[in-house]
C-alpha cells in the first residue's frame, strides 16, 4: 500500500456564481513531489487555500496521514504539519530573517531565550537543507529568491511535513529556480512531501513524481510524470492541442521607429540602473532584451515610456525626440503612437479594484470616443470593452466584473487588449506571460507576432529566455545596466546564459 500524506475527498467551493472547485478528489503520496497544473482560473490556488485553511470548503473532507482533519484556519493547518509558501510573500518587510521566522511561533513571553533557541534551530535547518540566509538580514534588503527561502524556512521551523508552493518560480531568476529545485529534492529525500503549482511544464517534467491537472474547477487527470509528456499535459489543461512552438516568418525590418542613444537612468538612491544604453528598433521587428531580473530592464522600459526620468541620453520616437530627461509624459507618448505593457500588471498596468471596462481605458481616458465633454461616455466605454473581451477571449466576458476577480492570464489579456488594440507604432512589453497559462501564452505570442507582421516595432523584455528566443528577431543582453551583447535568436542558451551572467560581456567590452 502506498503511504498517502494528503487526501482530498469531494472538495467543493463556490464564490457566489463562480464554482471554483467542483468535487475535487486528490491523493498525494508521502515523500513525493506532486505537481498541480491548470489554466488560469482553474481553481488551483483556491484548492490550496482550502488545504491551508484560508478558505473553508463548502463540502468535502481533508485527510492527513489517513486521518480526517478539520482545517479551520492556517494555525490548524500548521498543527497538521502543512506549510505554505505563498505567491505573494507574507513576510514583515522591516523585520530580520530570524524575527520573521519566529513570528507567531515564539516559545515564551521572554523573547531573548526564544531567540537564542531559534538561532540554533535555524542553523540546523540551514545546514540540513542547504538553505543559507543571514538570520540578521532585514527582509526588505534581500532579493526575492532569498525572501522565498525565508518563507520555506518559516514552514520548516514550524515542523511542516507537507510543503505547498504556489507558483514559486514566477519571480525567480533561472539560477534561483535551479537552487529552489535542489532544495525541494533535498526535502523529498528527507521524507517531506511537496505540492508544487506552476505554469511551467518544463519544471513539472524536471522535478515532480506525479502531476494532477485541473480544468475549470475540476480535477481532470493525474499522471505519473515519467509516463507523460509536455504535449499531453498541455492538451489535458486546455482541452485542445496547444502549439508550444511559436511559428513566425522572416522579419522585414523597415525604418527606425525608436532610436535610443546613450540612455542613463539612476534609481532613487542614485545607483546607476541603466548605463549608457543605445539601440535602434525598426518597424516590423521584435527586439528582445534578455537578462537576469534586476539588471536595468525595468528602468529602461520605464524611462522610454516616460514614467521615470533619465539622467542623460536621448530617445527618438518616429524621428522626433522624447524628452526623457525632462517632462516626458506617458499620455503624450501614447498619442504619438507608443504603447506600453508594463511588467507589473497588478500595481502599474491595472487598478485591481476597478471594473474591467474602467481598466480598458486606463491611459486612454482622454480619447474623445470615451468622453462627452468632461463626462465619461459610459455606454461607449462598456460597448468598447465588450468588443475587446470578445476579440481577446477574456473570461468571464463581463466588463463590469471587478478586475481583481479575473485570473492572472485574463488580467494580462485585459492589458494587452488595451495596448495593442489601437495599433501603436511602437509597442514595448515587459514580461508578457508572467503567471499566464500555456493556452494564453500561445494566444499572446500569436498577437505579438501579428503586430510585428503589421509593421509595428516591438520591444520585448522577459526573464524567460525561451520566450525571448522564440519571439525575438534580435536579442540584446543586459547586464548591470549595460547592453553587453547582441545575438541572433538562434544563439545557444549557453551562450546567452554566459552573457547574462556578465562573463562574456566583460571580455567583449574589453576588446
Amino acid at each position: 500500500m502506498d503511504n498517502i500524506a494528503i487526501e482530498l475527498r469531494g472538495i467543493d467551493k463556490s464564490f457566489g456564481p463562480v464554482h471554483a472547485n467542483k468535487n475535487i478528489n486528490l491523493k498525494v503520496r508521502k515523500g513525493t513531489i506532486h505537481g498541480i497544473i491548470g489554466e488560469n482560473g482553474a481553481g488551483k490556488s483556491t484548492l490550496m487555500s482550502i488545504l491551508y485553511g484560508f478558505y473553508q470548503a463548502d463540502s468535502g473532507e481533508i485527510l492527513v496521514d489517513g486521518k480526517p482533519v478539520a482545517i479551520r484556519d492556517p494555525n490548524a493547518a500548521i498543527a497538521a504539519g502543512i506549510g505554505m509558501v505563498h505567491q505573494h510573500f507574507m513576510l514583515v518587510e522591516n523585520f530580520t530573517v530570524l524575527e520573521n521566522i519566529m513570528l507567531g511561533a515564539e516559545d515564551s513571553q521572554i523573547l531573548n531565550k526564544g531567540i537564542a533557541k531559534a538561532r540554533v534551530e535555524l542553523k540546523r535547518l540551514e545546514r540540513e537543507y542547504a538553505l543559507e540566509v543571514d538570520p540578521d538580514a532585514v527582509i526588505e534588503e534581500l532579493p526575492v529568491g532569498l525572501q522565498q527561502r525565508v518563507e520555506i524556512l518559516k514552514a520548516l521551523y514550524r515542523r511542516a511535513d507537507i510543503l505547498i508552493l504556489d507558483e514559486p518560480t514566477g519571480v525567480l531568476t533561472p539560477a534561483e529556480a535551479d537552487h529552489l529545485f535542489r532544495v525541494l529534492e533535498q526535502l523529498k529525500s528527507q521524507g517531506k512531501t511537496v505540492i508544487l503549482i506552476t505554469h511551467k511544464l518544463r519544471e513539472i517534467m524536471a522535478i515532480t513524481d506525479e502531476v494532477s491537472v485541473m480544468r475549470r474547477g475540476e480535477m481532470v487527470a493525474t499522471r505519473t510524470t515519467a509516463e507523460t509528456s509536455v504535449e499531453e499535459l498541455a492538451e489535458l489543461m486546455v482541452g485542445r492541442r496547444v502549439l508550444l512552438r511559436v511559428e513566425k516568418g522572416e522579419a522585414k525590418p523597415g525604418e527606425v521607429k525608436l532610436a535610443v542613444e546613450g540612455l542613463t537612468v539612476k534609481d532613487g538612491r542614485g545607483v546607476t540602473m541603466v548605463d549608457n544604453v543605445s539601440f535602434n528598433l525598426r518597424a516590423g521587428e521584435i527586439v528582445g532584451i534578455a537578462g537576469v531580473a534586476g539588471n536595468g530592464q525595468s528602468e529602461l522600459l520605464e524611462a522610454i515610456s516616460g514614467i521615470r526620468r533619465a539622467v542623460s541620453g536621448s530617445v527618438l520616437l518616429n524621428g522626433k525626440p522624447i524628452d526623457v530627461t525632462g517632462r516626458a509624459d506617458p499620455s503624450e507618448l501614447r498619442d504619438r503612437g507608443l504603447a506600453h505593457v508594463p511588467e507589473d500588471r497588478h500595481h502599474v498596468g491595472l487598478v485591481l479594484k476597478f471594473e474591467e471596462c474602467e481598466n480598458a481605458i486606463l491611459g486612454y481616458h482622454h480619447d474623445k470616443r470615451y468622453l462627452n465633454g468632461v463626462f465619461l461616455d459610459v455606454d461607449a466605454i462598456r460597448k468598447d470593452a465588450e468588443k475587446r473581451i470578445g476579440e481577446y477571449d477574456i473570461r468571464p466576458p463581463n466588463p463590469r466584473l471587478k478586475t481583481a476577480n479575473f485570473s492572472g492570464g485574463n488580467q494580462q489579456k485585459i492589458v494587452l487588449a488595451r495596448e495593442m488594440e489601437r495599433g501603436p507604432d511602437v509597442l514595448i512589453i515587459g514580461q508578457p506571460t508572467r503567471g499566464v497559462d500555456v493556452g494564453a501564452i500561445e494566444f499572446i505570442h500569436k498577437r505579438i507576432i501579428e503586430m510585428r507582421d503589421q509593421g509595428k516595432a516591438v520591444l520585448l523584455v522577459s526573464v524567460e529566455l525561451d520566450e525571448i528566443r522564440a519571439l525575438s528577431d534580435r536579442i540584446l543582453v543586459m547586464f548591470a545596466g549595460r547592453v553587453v551583447g547582441e545575438r541572433d535568436p538562434d544563439a545557444t542558451e549557453g551562450e546567452l546564459g554566459l552573457l547574462m551572467a556578465g562573463v562574456e560581456g566583460r571580455k567583449e567590452a574589453a576588446e
Binding site: 457566489g16 487555500s49 463548502d58 481616458h365
Partner: protein, 377 residues
C-alpha cells in the same frame, strides 16, 4: 487573496451589515446607560422621539443632517483620491467668510435668491482657498496633508477670532459676531416640504440649504463616477503607480481634489449662517468638520451612503440633546459616548460581523441552489 470575503448581494452589503453594526452600537450604548443607572429603553424612546417625534424635531434633525452632508461629502471626495482631508473643520470655518461677505454686502438691497448664489460661490471659494494651500504643499513640497490640514484648522480658528473681534464685528458691539443680516441674508425655511407630510416645522431652522446639500450629493456622484476627473481621482486613490503609468499628474489631481473637497466643506457654512443665525458667530462650525469624517466612513464615501449617515448623526445630535434634557443624569458627554460607539461599530469595526454573515449567507444560498437543482431534475 486580495478579497478575503466572498461577494455579498447589495442589500446585505449596504443594508443588512450597516444595520447590524448600528444595532450593536446601540446595544452597547444601552449597557452604558444601564451602568449610570438609567433605563436604556427610556433613553432610546427619547432619542427617537426627540429626533423624529414631531415636525419640529424632525426639522432640527434634518438641519443638522444638512451640515453633515456637506462635510461628509468633503471628506469622501478627498478620500476617493487617496487623500485624508482632516481640515473640513477649518475649511468650513473659513468658508463662512464668503457667506458673511455676500450677506453683509447685499442683504439690505437684494432678495435672498440673489444673495444665496453669491453666498454659495463665496463659501465654496473661501473653503477651496483654505484647502488649496495644504494640497499645494503636498503636491509640491511633500508635506503630508493630514498634518497640514490639522495645522490649518488651528490657523483658521485664530484667523476667525481675529476677524470676528476686529474686522467683521459692528462698532460698539461686545459679541464676537457680525451684525444680524436683513431679510436678504436669511434663507427661507422648508416648512412646505414637511407640510406635505402633515408636519409643522415650528422653530426648527430647516432651510433650503438642505436641497442644496442633496444637489451637491448628486454632483459628487457625477464627479466621481461619471467624469474624467473623477476617474483620474479614483485611479490615484487606488494606485498611484497606475496613475503615473497612465500619465495622470499627481500634483494637479491632488490640488484640484483638495479644492473641491474644501469647497464642499465651505458650503456647510451656508446652513448655520444664512439658514439659522442670520449672522456669523464665533465657532459656528462646532465640530461638524470632524463629524464629516465619521459620516464619510459610515457612508462608504458614497453619496447614497453619506445622506443616510448624515441623517443618523443628525438624529444623534437632535435626539441626544432631547435625552439630556429629559433625563438629567445622562449628560451631554454621554451622548458623545453614544456617537463614539456608532463611529466605532459602523466605521472602525465595520468588518466585525462580516465573516459570520458571509458564512450564513453562502450556506443559505447553497441550500437554495440544491433545492432548485432537485426541482429541475
Amino acid at each position: 487573496m486580495s478579497t478575503p470575503y466572498a461577494k455579498l448581494p447589495g442589500w446585505v452589503e449596504y443594508g443588512l451589515i450597516p444595520l447590524i453594526n448600528l444595532a450593536v452600537a446601540f446595544l452597547v450604548a444601552g449597557l452604558v446607560v444601564l451602568l449610570v443607572g438609567e433605563n436604556p429603553l427610556e433613553a432610546a424612546y427619547h432619542l427617537i422621539n426627540g429626533a423624529f417625534g414631531r415636525g419640529e424635531y424632525l426639522g432640527f434633525t434634518l438641519y443638522y443632517a444638512t451640515t453633515f452632508i456637506f462635510t461628509g461629502l468633503a471628506v469622501a471626495v478627498a478620500f476617493h483620491a487617496g487623500l485624508f482631508n482632516i481640515g473640513g473643520e477649518g475649511q468650513a470655518y473659513v468658508g463662512g467668510i464668503g457667506v458673511a461677505l455676500a450677506c453683509l454686502w447685499l442683504d439690505q438691497t437684494m432678495p435672498w435668491f440673489v444673495v444665496f448664489p453669491l453666498a454659495i460661490l463665496g463659501s465654496a471659494f473661501f473653503g477651496a482657498a483654505w484647502a488649496f494651500l495644504p494640497g499645494w504643499l503636498q503636491a509640491k513640497r511633500g508635506s503630508h496633508i493630514v498634518i497640514t490640514t490639522i495645522m490649518f484648522n488651528f490657523i483658521a480658528s485664530s484667523l476667525m477670532v481675529y476677524l470676528l473681534t476686529r474686522v467683521l464685528k459692528p462698532l460698539g458691539s461686545m459679541a464676537p459676531q457680525t451684525r444680524t443680516f436683513a431679510e436678504g441674508g436669511q434663507l427661507p425655511k422648508l416648512d412646505w416640504l414637511l407640510a406635505i407630510f402633515g408636519l409643522n416645522v415650528g422653530t426648527a431652522p430647516f432651510n433650503v440649504s438642505f436641497l442644496l446639500a442633496l444637489v451637491a450629493a448628486f454632483c459628487v456622484w457625477l464627479l466621481i463616477w461619471r467624469t474624467k476627473l473623477g476617474y483620474e481621482m479614483r485611479t490615484m486613490g487606488h494606485s498611484p503607480s497606475a496613475a503615473r503609468y497612465a500619465g495622470m499628474s499627481e500634483s494637479r489631481i491632488t490640488v484640484i481634489t483638495m479644492m473641491i473637497s474644501g469647497g464642499l466643506a465651505g458650503m456647510m457654512a451656508l446652513n448655520p449662517i444664512m439658514g439659522e443665525q442670520a449672522r456669523m458667530q464665533l465657532d459656528f462650525v462646532q465640530g461638524a468638520g470632524f463629524v464629516g469624517i465619521a459620516v464619510a466612513l459610515m457612508g462608504r464615501s458614497h453619496p447614497a451612503g453619506i445622506i443616510p449617515a448624515a441623517v443618523l448623526f443628525g438624529m444623534l445630535y437632535q435626539g441626544g440633546a432631547e435625552i439630556s434634557f429629559e433625563m438629567p443624569s445622562i449628560s451631554r458627554d454621554m451622548i458623545v459616548i453614544i456617537q463614539g460607539l456608532v463611529i466605532l461599530f459602523a466605521g472602525a469595526l465595520e468588518n466585525m460581523f462580516r465573516p459570520a454573515i458571509t458564512r450564513l449567507f453562502t450556506m443559505q444560498s447553497r441550500r437554495a441552489a440544491v433545492v432548485t437543482q432537485t426541482k429541475g431534475a
